[in-house]
């Protein structure tokens, strides 16, 4: 077992994070070099790890803390899936952020916490036990706060306060769930599911509810989602990362871990917890879409769309069928690619054309064609138009639901598709068919902003078109699930 690679992957974002704090505000070149260098090295290391794992290598590192406490990094297929997503998107977001901020103030602090945030996400992906997961989960909570309040105006500070007011009680719920469970079973490792027969079913249900509540705050499960739309006060790169891979995904990833690797699908179904979780996810899917329709600002509409879309992942975990699981896991990647595209574009509209509100997007397709094409691709993917990524996720979720006998899920998926169309198509209509306002401005003369959006838009198209390839997120998810359901 190799020790060096997981640590190196963690350090590739931790070192730039810590070093950034000590850089003077003016040393833009060093800071950009650090952030970009870290991102490139990390991506390289993750690719190296992927290749090694494909040849049968295994990775495990453990740091012992006080009795019962430890930090365990252990690589399995699920961690690789999440880690690859974060490594790719981090690199693109770093390029985007460098162009977005230019030489504005307080960038050393920003990139410091930005890298710390990614270090936490990577740690989360690699965490091999519940308590390690919790440590990185909290690191993520804290390193995100300075990013949310980055603009330091009243609106950002209010958003930051709201964020912590939701996140910290969520952490408490999660910690109680972990300690409660581990006080009976001992430390829980993901590769070695605990023997839950020693815990009485009532306590188990309580523990599960606490887990879902604690993780649900991050995953923006209704009614715990109230912090997310406000967090839109953050700069665009932060929103992009937050919605695609960092905070929201950490919650969804955690739910997947808890369902598969702590409780196990069979126990979840035996305890009668699968259907309630699926219902909660469905309510979130519909409620998020309904609220998205009412929003006038681009970023807030996208935020509510995230609330809705992330719960597809939870729905996939809750419905006990291999295809649903595949759909949910693939959506972890699909939603990340599509949503980051949309947020990149929203940031470009704001930065290059001053357009924050949806009605300011009239005729933008003519003036900012590349951005608008990317936005349209992302939006169509979200709606689930074949052969886009979102379509693949929904098909698998639907088949899975049928397998599990949960036919009502199909209605939820259909309704969600209609709602997504209802709030995305008007934007596309404005972009391409309505005449521009007289005083409209807008250009795309900032390649470092546009190129990341083009890459993610093409990627979200590619993962749908080439879904059948074993290298696609879908192929990967199928591999994970084949192991999960194997006897």
């Amino acid at each position: 077992m190799s020790v060096a690679l997981p640590i190196a992957i963690l350090l590739s974002s931790l070192i730039p994070a810590l070093a950034s704090f000590f850089l003077a505000q003016e040393s833009h070149m060093w800071r950009n070099l650090l952030s970009l260098g870290g991102a490139v090295i990390k991506l390289g290391l993750v690719v190296a790890m992927l290749l090694a794992v494909a040849q049968g290598a295994a990775y495990e590192v453990q740091l012992n803390l006080a009795p019962g406490l430890h930090l365990l990094l252990r690589i399995d297929a699920l961690s690789l899936l999440f880690m690859s997503l974060s490594a790719v998107l981090w690199l693109l977001t770093t390029i985007y952020a460098i162009a977005y901020f230019g030489t504005k103030a307080e960038l050393s602090r920003f990139f410091g916490f930005f890298s710390l945030c990614v270090a936490a996400t990577t740690g989360l992906a690699m965490a091999g036990s519940l308590i390690s997961f919790f440590v990185f989960f909290e690191m993520l909570t804290l390193s995100t706060w300075p990013l949310v309040v980055h603009k330091q105006d009243d609106r950002s500070l209010a958003a930051g306060r709201r964020y912590l007011a939701y996140a910290l009680p969520g952490s408490v719920a999660l910690l109680v769930a972990i300690v409660w469970l581990e006080s009976v079973t001992g430390p829980v490792l993901f590769t070695d599911p605990p023997d839950l027969s020693a815990v009485d079913p009532v306590s188990l249900r309580g523990i599960f509810v606490l887990f879902v509540a604690g993780l649900g705050v991050k995953a923006a499960l209704v009614p715990l989602h109230g912090w997310l739309p406000g967090a839109m006060a953050a700069p665009a790169p932060v929103s992009a990362l937050l919605h695609a891979v960092a905070v929201v995904k950490a919650g969804a990833f955690g739910v997947v871990r808890v369902v598969y690797d702590v409780f196990g699908l069979i126990t979840v179904q035996d305890l009668g917890l699968g259907t309630p979780l699926a219902v909660a996810a469905s309510v979130t899917i519909l409620w998020g879409s309904l609220r998205a329709m009412q929003q006038e600002e681009i970023k807030t509409r996208l935020a509510y769309s995230t609330v809705s879309q992330v719960s597809y992942i939870i729905l996939g975990a809750a419905v006990a069928g291999p295809f649903a699981t595949i759909g949910g896991l693939a959506h972890l990647v699909h939603q990340g690619l599509m949503k980051i595209t949309l947020f990149f574009c929203a940031g470009i509209y704001d930065e290059r054309a001053g357009a924050k509100r949806i009605d300011a997007l009239n005729g933008m397709g003519a003036r900012m064609p590349v951005t608008s094409i990317c936005f349209s691709l992302g939006a169509l993917g979200m709606i689930g138009l074949p052969p886009m990524a979102g379509f693949v996720s929904k098909v698998y979720l639907g088949i899975g639901a049928l397998q599990a006998g949960e036919n009502w899920v199909l209605a939820v998926l259909a309704a969600s598709t209609l709602l997504n169309a209802a709030y995305f198509l008007p934007i596309l209509y404005r972009l391409w068919f309505l005449p521009a306002a007289d005083i409209a401005r807008g250009d795309e003369r900032s390649p470092m902003l546009v190129i990341p959006a083009v890459i993610t838009a093409l990627a979200s198209l590619a993962v749908g078109v080439f879904a059948a390839s074993p290298l696609s997120p879908l192929g990967w998810a199928s591999l994970i699930v084949a192991r999960e359901y194997a006897p």
Binding site: A66, V176, S183
Partner: protein, 479 residues
């Protein structure tokens, strides 16, 4: 053992030297701190390798003489004291209104703390406690005329506590004829012991500022000059807590009744709630931090029921005992860091009102970082020392079926997040403040302390193992 003797003697010499050459007070103090650091390093190595280190002054062991013993617990507290005092000295050297009395009093406080940590004799502890009280009260009074009333109030409380404790010690001596803890542990309980222990415990609770005997602490800690507040909040209440721990775990583990343990925990829980809620309502940083001390001391009291219950071997008791020690240490480091931040901000902005601190994060980023890291420890978030403490105590709470105590810990953490968030938000406000510059070196001082508190969690394996050196049997077997 020379290193231990050096550590005990250095601050006393320091106090004398400061009075002899008042012009060089800061240099003397710095020299004492550096030398103590060296002696401490030697002592840590010795204890980690060979177990507890003993000194028998005059060659007489207990019960005739007085034994001084440095076990893991004592050395850990001495280390925390060296770190906090050295940091306070660094800040005080740059604080304008610090006079000679301050330096002498810091040295005396330090000597008293060391004596208390290594004592195993109830009366020797009293002597240390008395010296500590007088030095600490005088330290508050160096805050100027506005500090006199709080100092006087502190004096009244502290003297009452001393009297109660002394009365208890007298009863013990009358009944047993010994004051050494190891000998007391072997002696059968006497009829008067109940009263004696009640008196001693009450006296120590007053000194530790446990609810409802805490009224002296917030005004005194808020009125003292910031370097003094750092010592007062981080170290002084911990000394009487150490005596309380040693009394119940080392001297009379069998005398603890369930109702007594629960009473202590209820007082602790009330302290957490009361201190936390009042901290939310303060407008000055030093007062917030002082009320936070009241709340954080409350956690310490939870150790008694967590580690207790019948004397049967309890696997979770050691976790609770170590958790409380972890908390005392991590809180000390983090709290000192906060008071030193307050001191630096007062230098820069002229006041510690939250309104005047607005926007300081931009001007003094390292102190904002220090405050943030210290806050992480006080909230008990991973992987800080405060989290290790909370985790160990929570695990014992769940394992021993005392879930309510876990809820107290968690609720306290949320309250801490609430009252520490307000200063953080003020620091991050978008105002360009009008401030005097502060050197980066000075800014690094609280950051180092805060990082030390954080590192306690990251390296908790080694710290935990070290604390087990010379751990009392009752910490494992339960009270």
């Amino acid at each position: 053992m020379i290193a231990l003797a050096t550590l005990l003697i250095l601050p006393i010499f320091g106090a004398l030297a400061v009075v002899a050459v008042p012009g060089q007070a800061a240099r003397v103090a710095a020299a004492v701190a550096v030398l103590s650091g060296g002696a401490l390093a030697v002592l840590i190595m010795a204890v980690a390798k060979g177990g507890s280190v003993q000194i028998l002054p005059g060659g007489w062991g207990a019960p005739l003489g007085i034994a001084l013993e440095a076990d893991g617990l004592a050395v850990a507290f001495m280390a925390m004291t060296v770190a906090v005092t050295a940091a306070a000295i660094a800040l005080a050297a740059r604080t304008p209104a610090i006079g000679t009395p301050f330096w002498a009093l810091v040295m005396l406080t330090w000597s008293a703390l060391n004596v208390i940590y290594v004592s195993r004799d109830l009366f020797n502890m009293y002597v240390g406690l008395e010296l500590l009280t007088l030095a600490a009260v005088a330290l508050v009074a160096t805050g100027g005329t506005s500090a006199l009333a709080p100092a006087l109030r502190y004096l009244f409380f502290a003297l009452t506590g001393s009297l109660l404790y002394l009365a208890g010690v007298a009863l013990i001596y009358a009944a047993h004829g010994v004051l050494d803890m190891a000998h007391l542990a072997e002696a059968p309980l006497q009829a008067t012991d109940g009263v004696a222990l009640a008196l001693m415990t009450a006296g120590l609770l007053v000194k530790t500022a446990v609810f409802p005997f805490h009224a002296w602490l917030p005004p005194a800690h808020a009125a003292a000059p910031p370097p003094a507040s750092a010592l007062l909040s981080a170290l002084v209440p911990k000394a009487s807590f150490v005596i309380l721990m040693r009394l119940w775990f080392d001297a009379v583990p069998d005398a603890a009744t369930r109702s007594l343990l629960l009473t202590l925990a209820i007082l602790g829980a009330l302290a957490v709630a009361h201190g936390g809620v009042l901290a939310l309502r303060q407008d000055r940083l030093k007062q917030i931090v002082a009320y936070s001390t009241v709340a954080q001391i409350g956690y310490l009291m939870l150790v008694f029921p967590l580690a207790g219950g019948g004397g049967a071997a309890q696997p979770w008791a050691a976790g609770a005992w170590s958790g409380a020690i972890f908390h005392a240490l991590a809180h000390g480091l983090a709290k000192a860091a906060m008071f030193l931040c307050a001191g630096i901000w007062i230098m820069a902005a002229g006041s510690d009102r939250l309104d005047d601190l607005r926007g300081l994060a931009r001007a003094l980023p390292m102190t904002a970082m220090a405050f943030g890291v210290a806050a992480v420890t006080l909230m008990g978030l991973p992987p800080s020392g405060g989290f290790t403490a909370k985790y160990l105590m929570m695990t014992s709470a769940f394992a021993s079926g005392q879930v309510v105590l876990a809820i107290v810990l968690l609720a306290g953490g949320l309250l801490a997040a609430g009252y520490l968030y307000r200063p953080m938000e003020a620091l991050f406000a978008r105002v360009v403040p009008d401030h005097r510059p502060v050197s980066r070196l000075l800014q690094a001082v609280p950051l180092l302390l805060a990082l030390l508190a954080f590192a306690m969690g990251l390296f908790s394996d080694a710290v935990y193992a070290f604390l087990q050196t010379g751990r009392p049997g009752a910490a494992e077997g339960g009270l």
